[in-house]
């Protein structure tokens, strides 16, 4: 009960902090200095990932957009059946229209939400690292107090995450996923057994890299090691996130007015 109250208090505090940019800057000097400078060669504390980060596909050396790496490992029959059902808008099976679950406003889930070219803010507290995503107005917590994953986890969209520093790399270990989200934009599936490892590194003041490692023997017969994605720090006026909820009415209107005619289909 006490832990629950503490959690509610933490979330309330964070909501208040996010509502006031003045407070954020007062409480997070490292982020303020990041926002004030565009000098990517200036040193940054490698153990400070705080700031608003965004994936841009057009920067040199960038990993592939929308999926962990160019090709997925061999799929099990279970995964192949799910993949065959998927009609994604991206990747080798790309088609107009389709049945991407996010078109119905299902949560994007981890890790797919990390592939969006939309920002997320990292906030570090003494015992947790928080990520606040523009997409879905979603957030996740990564415990850094040394705990292990609870037993008998109820499957969730974001999973249960614990993190620790390995030198200058922040390593996030997540289990406890449900299997309702696509792993990426390509319609690649994952199971409830997915074990995800994310390796974050602050390369310089304005750049953070991420490598994903997916272990999901129910879906893939080999470990899926992602390429290196780069995220850029948003500074000044660009350090901005809108309130981006997925609204079914807006999705339907957009589908009828844009997606379906673009795909050569008649609106519903």
């Amino acid at each position: 009960m006490r832990i629950r109250m503490m959690t509610i208090a933490w979330v309330a505090l964070l909501a208040a902090l996010l509502d006031s940019s003045v407070l954020i800057h007062a409480q997070m000097p490292s982020q303020q200095s990041s926002s004030a400078s565009n000098n990517s060669s200036a040193p940054a504390d490698p153990h400070d990932l705080s700031g608003m980060w965004e994936f841009f596909a057009n920067i040199p050396g960038q990993g592939i957009y929308a999926t962990p790496s160019k090709e997925h490992p061999p799929m099990t029959p279970w995964a192949k059946a799910k993949y065959d059902e998927a009609k994604p808008g991206y990747g080798p099976k790309a088609q107009g229209g389709g049945n991407d679950p996010i078109l119905k406003c299902n949560p994007t889930g981890i890790p797919r939400i990390l592939f969006f070219p939309q920002p997320f803010e990292i906030f570090q507290s003494p015992e947790r690292v928080f990520m606040f995503f523009e997409r879905d107005h979603a957030w996740r917590q990564i415990w850094t107090d040394g705990r292990t994953h609870p037993k008998d986890l109820e499957p969730t969209w974001m999973g249960d995450s614990i993190g620790k520093w390995d030198g200058d790399t922040f390593v996030v270990d997540t289990v406890g996923f449900n299997d309702k989200s696509w792993l990426d934009f390509y319609g690649d599936p994952h199971s409830e057994d997915m074990h995800l490892i994310e390796r974050y590194k602050r390369v310089d003041r304005n750049t953070m890299s991420l490598q994903l490692v997916v272990e999901d023997p129910k879906a893939y017969t080999a470990t899926w090691v992602g390429d290196i994605k780069s995220y850029k720090l948003l500074t000044g006026k660009k350090a901005y996130m809108e309130e981006l909820f997925c609204i079914p009415e807006e999705e339907d209107a957009f589908t009828n007015r844009i997606r379906m005619p673009a795909a050569g289909q008649s609106p519903k």
Binding site: P117, A253, A262, G264
Partner: protein, 129 residues
Amino acid sequence: MKKYRLNFLISVATLVLISVPVLAHHGNASYDNDHPIMIKGTVTEFAWSNPHVQIYLDVKDDKGKVVRWSVETLSPGKLVRAGWSKDSVKVADQVSITLIPAKSGAPVGFLHKLVLANGEELGLRELEN
């Protein structure tokens, strides 16, 4: 004639250059990424909403017939970071839009660049790198 040809080549080269970063972001299968076009017309609606902001405009085709085009952009947040606001475009504005058209042939496209009557340009780039 020679000058015209040079201008044409520069235009094509510019379109290709504009298209590369955008396509890398949004390889939506419905659009013909390789053949950007430019349309000019009168805005009938600027829908500042998710998932992607839309611009609707009336465009006269070769025969003088008015065709209603629907133009997809990006989410409001991405447009704000690229320098747009909900008031950037208004109904009755005369605009020219460079876009990649739908493969289906429907008058629908994905915006690369918009130029207002006063010459102001709005694109989709969020970073100046």
